[in-house]
């Protein structure tokens, strides 16, 4: 009830009762009683006005509210009386709740949240499934499904891809997505301004729609590239060479069904590569469909599969490939979008949720301990209240209210900290070239989570001290002197137990952090097969018409020439894909004399490289030679294998001079002679051994060469060479696009994003827990010293030295810490076992990590013992003995 209304209630009640009494008095006076006597009788017959008012308030349901207000007032007063305790409690809660809320925000964004589309539960991905996994079906099958399947209200497709844009004569590679015209109608996503794409925008191959080519852009791209100008609708930009009209601006997070990846523009499928669209086996699409009302997933799956089986019967596919990928159709829920991000981060985020939960537990134990200590100190106070008639229930409620006030303040600060943490986390995810964009806004779910967490925490930390307060025997409590506290032996024991638990929790967190940090160090020191320091990397893309042309080849050579001239650049080379770039390309080869047992045996990773590339990366040649300028398009076709591939295909023979053949190409008679073998390099997954690789000279590559990656070895920090390298490239041709400028070391760090995230956060959590344990130890030791002042006096009087007393306190601290450390070790081993997949190079029982954590804790325990120990050892025996 609001204050003002409450005041009115009181005033009206007062007026009403007064009216009654005065009316009665007036009636009595009229009947001849003297005024004085009338007033006396009225008072007697009415009874106590205040008691009646209380009954009225109770009847009106105000009593509860009044009590709550009194509890709150008392809570604030006690908190103000011991601001130190309140500060520690609120701060530690804020840290713990903030950590939990921040991690939950990321967990929610990555793992739980449904996409903001219409009725997401009716959306399904239509996928081909085989023993090798799943993929989207080829375009012709998508068309078949869209035109014939009756189970789906709509069937649409999308394919994320870098798309070249020219606007205002500026050329750039945008993060694009090819979409079927009905894609956004299927999702039920509305444009922010303008209109969205429709089926009629995507019905003419090479042209888009009958009324011209159109596209929609994302709001982030709109703001970044066009300054948020609403006049953008109707503007013409170029997608490659094609003039395209922008018709709408869409919300960025739903431009493609894949959370976490930013998109700039969506262009109708009909403007993409017509060859790929006609190909009956090419895999480049994701197909998403909306089920018709009342159609079950089972029924829809059966229909899609029947259509698919008829489709594949008509396509030439080797039996092996059929079982691997073209086996049958399946439907998967699409409500959360594609699961790439989810898959990548589910384990680390689950681990972090668990760790932040432990931090919260440590904070709870800390505060429980502080409040218990205070409850003991306030025993007299409680005894007095019980003695004068307060109910035990009221005392419990009073204590819980106090805990909730503290936790409430903690939760509010926690939200502030969580917001700061989320900003840092979002920046963490957004670093590097393949940025992950997380929507970490302060939404109702996060607030609800925090409020629920706060309530649970408040009850958890409030209940024990409350029950203790209510369990007081008033008779005994009133006799308590200021010094000897009855029952304190029990409370000391409980306090010690709680401190041991706190130490154990921090040990778990610190040892866990140790394991993750060790894993990260191990991963960082893995021999990748190349020299990672000093390498500048960037990608260079020519205009589309130059793809695969001799001019582009000539330019490549000229660029190498020029870059090599830059002082400080030691060597440089081209490749279709650098290690650690996230790019990959597979091929299928046949090796005469090698009997492939499965189709998989023929698969190999393929890259084209220029002369001097292996030199630049520092990859030594094991056998034969590197490529030279002589290996041009007209020369004998040559190839280089890595060690793994050489061992695999030629286990007992020298591979030099042997031939391999690429299959699956229109002119499938592509024979290459092996001229060299180079050392293995790790291409993307540092945890895995190197895979089979084959390298071709760029001039002899099986693909038309378009975008290439440059690697340059520099003396000094490579990134400082970026500007001059860029300038030299653009002197050769000013319109060359330069993308993803980075260094090899940065790219490696980018690959280790997950591991760095877990190591950094678990270390932060460990430190918070360590500080909390230190506070807990300090509290219990100070209390023990105060309680034992008398005893210490006796010891000193009997000859104990001050060093001996100091040692006594220190010993207690170390004993408590030791207890916690010992009980924590089995828990760490069990937890580390569960997180084994996230560890690398260390076992769940890692003596080094454990010893470091234990040492850190012991050091902190000693530190916590210093102040109380000094106080104890500097006591004057005569005063101490007299202390009461």
């Amino acid at each position: 009830m609001k204050m003002r209304r409450r005041k009115q209630f009181e005033a009206e009640m007062d007026a009403e009762l007064r009216f009654h009494i005065e009316s009665y008095v007036a009636d009595l006076v009229r009947s001849g009683v003297s005024r004085e006597e009338a007033e006396r009788r009225a008072r007697v017959e009415f009874g106590s006005v205040e008691a009646r008012k209380d009954e009225c308030r109770q009847a009106w349901g105000l009593q509860r509210l009044d009590e709550l207000r009194a509890d709150l007032r008392l809570a604030f007063r006690t908190i103000r009386r011991s601001p130190g305790l309140a500060t520690i409690a609120v701060l530690s809660l804020a840290l713990a709740i903030g950590a939990n809320a921040a991690i939950f925000g990321v967990f929610d964004a990555v793992m739980l949240r449904l996409l903001p589309v219409r009725d997401p539960s009716r959306l399904v991905f239509v996928q081909m499934v085989g023993v090798a996994g799943w993929d989207g079906p080829p375009y012709p099958f998508f068309e078949l499904l869209r035109n014939q399947a009756k189970s789906f209200k709509e069937v649409s497709a999308f394919s994320p891809s870098a798309i070249e844009l020219i606007a205002d004569r500026g050329r750039e590679m945008a993060r694009g997505v090819w979409v079927s015209g009905n894609f956004y109608e299927t999702l039920g996503v509305r444009p922010l301004i303008g209109r969205t794409l429709t089926a009629s925008d995507d019905d003419t191959p090479g042209k888009g729609g009958r009324n011209g080519a159109v596209a929609v852009i994302s709001d982030t791209y709109w703001r970044r590239r066009f300054g948020g100008d609403p006049q953008v609708i109707g503007r013409t930009i170029y997608v490659y060479k094609q003039a395209v009209t922008i018709v709408g601006v869409m919300p960025a997070e739903i431009m493609r069904l894949e959370p976490g990846y930013a998109t700039d523009i969506a262009v109708p499928m009909m403007l993409s590569d017509p060859v790929k669209m006609r190909d009956r086996t090419s895999l480049w699409l994701f197909v998403v469909a909306r089920l018709r009302p009342a159609v079950g997933v089972k029924q829809a799956r059966a229909e899609a599969d029947a259509l698919f089986q008829a489709y594949v019967a008509d396509v030439q596919i080797p039996a092996e490939v059929r079982t691997r990928l073209f086996h049958h159709m399946d439907l998967a829920p699409a409500a959360k979008g594609l699961g790439g991000l989810r898959h990548r981060f589910s384990k680390p985020l689950t681990a972090l949720m668990a760790l932040s939960g432990l931090v919260l537990l440590a904070a709870c134990v800390n505060i429980t301990n502080l409040m218990l200590a205070r409850a003991v100190a306030r025993q007299r106070d409680f005894a007095v209240r019980l003695a004068i008639g307060a109910g035990r229930g009221r005392l419990v409620r009073q204590n819980v209210t106090e805990a909730l006030v503290l936790v409430g303040a903690g939760a509010i600060f926690g939200i502030v900290l969580a917001r700061m943490g989320q900003t840092a986390l979002a920046a963490f995810f957004a670093q590097g070239n393949n940025t992950i964009v997380l929507d970490l806004s302060l939404d109702a779910r996060l607030l609800l989570f925090t409020a629920g967490l706060g309530l649970l925490t408040g009850l958890a930390v409030g209940i024990a001290p409350a029950l203790r307060a209510a369990g007081n025997d008033p008779a005994a409590g009133l006799q308590i002197g200021s010094r000897s506290i009855a029952g304190s032996r029990v409370s000391m024991r409980l306090g010690r137990a709680l401190v041991v638990i706190q130490v154990a929790l921090s040990m778990v967190l610190l040892a866990g952090a140790g394991l993750f940090i060790r894993s990260l160090r191990e991963l960082r020191s893995v021999d990748l097969g190349f020299v990672r320091e000093g390498i500048l990397t960037m990608e260079v893309a020519p205009e589309r018409q130059l793809n695969g042309s001799p001019e582009w080849l000539a330019m490549q050579a000229e660029i190498l020439e020029r870059v090599r001239q830059i002082p400080g650049v030691l060597s440089c080379g081209w490749t279709t894909m650098n290690p650690m770039s996230g790019r990959d390309r597979g091929a299928i080869i046949e090796v005469p004399g090698f009997a492939a047992r499965t189709e998989e045996d023929k698969e190999i990773h393929l890259a084209a490289v220029s002369p001097e590339y292996f030199d630049t990366l520092g990859v030594p040649t094991s056998l034969g030679r590197e490529f030279t300028p002589g290996d041009h398009g007209g020369a004998l076709k040559v190839a280089i294998l890595n060690d793994t591939a050489a061992r695999f295909y030629f286990p007992h023979a020298n591979p030099i001079g042997r031939k391999i053949r690429f299959v699956n190409y229109p002119s499938s008679d592509l024979l290459y002679e092996i001229v060299g073998v180079v050392r293995d390099t790790v291409h993307d997954d540092i945890r895995e051994p190197a895979s089979r690789f084959i390298y071709l000279p760029i001039g002899q590559h099986v693909d038309r060469i378009n975008r290439l990656a440059l690697a340059a070895r520099c003396s000094g920090d490579p990134i400082t060479f970026a500007t001059s390298v860029r300038r030299h490239i653009q002197t050769v041709r000013s319109t060359l696009l330069i993308l993803n400028v980075s260094t090899m070391e940065r790219q490696i760090e980018q690959m280790l994003l997950r591991e760095r995230l877990v190591a950094t956060l678990s270390a932060a959590f460990g430190i918070v827990a360590l500080v909390l344990a230190g506070i807990g130890l300090y509290g219990i030791l100070s209390y023990a010293v105060t309680r034992r002042t008398n005893e210490i006096g006796i010891r000193m009087a009997l000859g104990a030295t001050s060093n001996g007393v100091l040692w006594m306190v220190l010993r207690e601290a170390l004993a408590l810490a030791g207890g916690g450390i010992v009980i924590a070790i089995p828990a760490v081993v069990v937890l580390a076992h569960a997180a084994k997949a996230s560890l690398y190079g260390v076992g769940p029982f890692d003596p080094l990590a454990f010893a470091a954590a234990a040492l850190l804790l012991a050091g902190f325990a000693a530190l916590a013992a210093v102040v109380p120990g000094r106080r104890a050892s500097s006591l004057d025996p005569t005063t101490a003995l007299r202390s009461e």
């Binding site: 009206e12 007026a15 009762l17 009216f19 009654h20 009316s23 009415f46 009874g47 009954e55 009847a59």
Partner: protein, 113 residues
């Protein structure tokens, strides 16, 4: 003077509902009306009237409004609400049933079965 009767537990609410059903009354008026209706035979603690009135209003059985008393003073007047009227009818019926059953038992003559 007639003999005084003690108020039965829980009947005060019913009597108040009856009193205000005959027209809007202020608290003191309820007391006077009840004394008049019972011929002064019912002992009512004056103060206990108000918690009962607040309780009934909280339950929505009566409504209140500030108005002017006979002596031109401001007073709070209570009147029966629609749900209060239904409640009063139900209570009256229940009371009559109860009274007749109890009267029947107490009035039974030995030998009659």
């Amino acid at each position: 003077m007639n003999k005084q009767v003690d108020l039965l537990q829980g009947t005060l609410d019913m009597l108040i509902l009856k009193a205000v059903s005959l027209g809007g009354l202020h608290g003191y008026g309820v007391l006077l009306r009840l004394q008049q209706l019972t011929g002064g035979r019912l002992q009512i603690q004056q103060g206990s009237l108000y918690p009962a009135l607040y309780r009934l209003e909280r339950k929505g059985l009566i409504t209140s409004e500030w108005g002017e008393s006979d002596h031109r003073r401001k007073a709070k007047f209570y009147k029966l609400s629609a749900s209060g009227r239904r409640q009063l009818e139900a209570e009256t019926a229940r009371w009559n049933d109860f009274a007749s059953v109890v009267a029947g038992v107490l009035g039974a003559v030995p030998g009659e079965s």
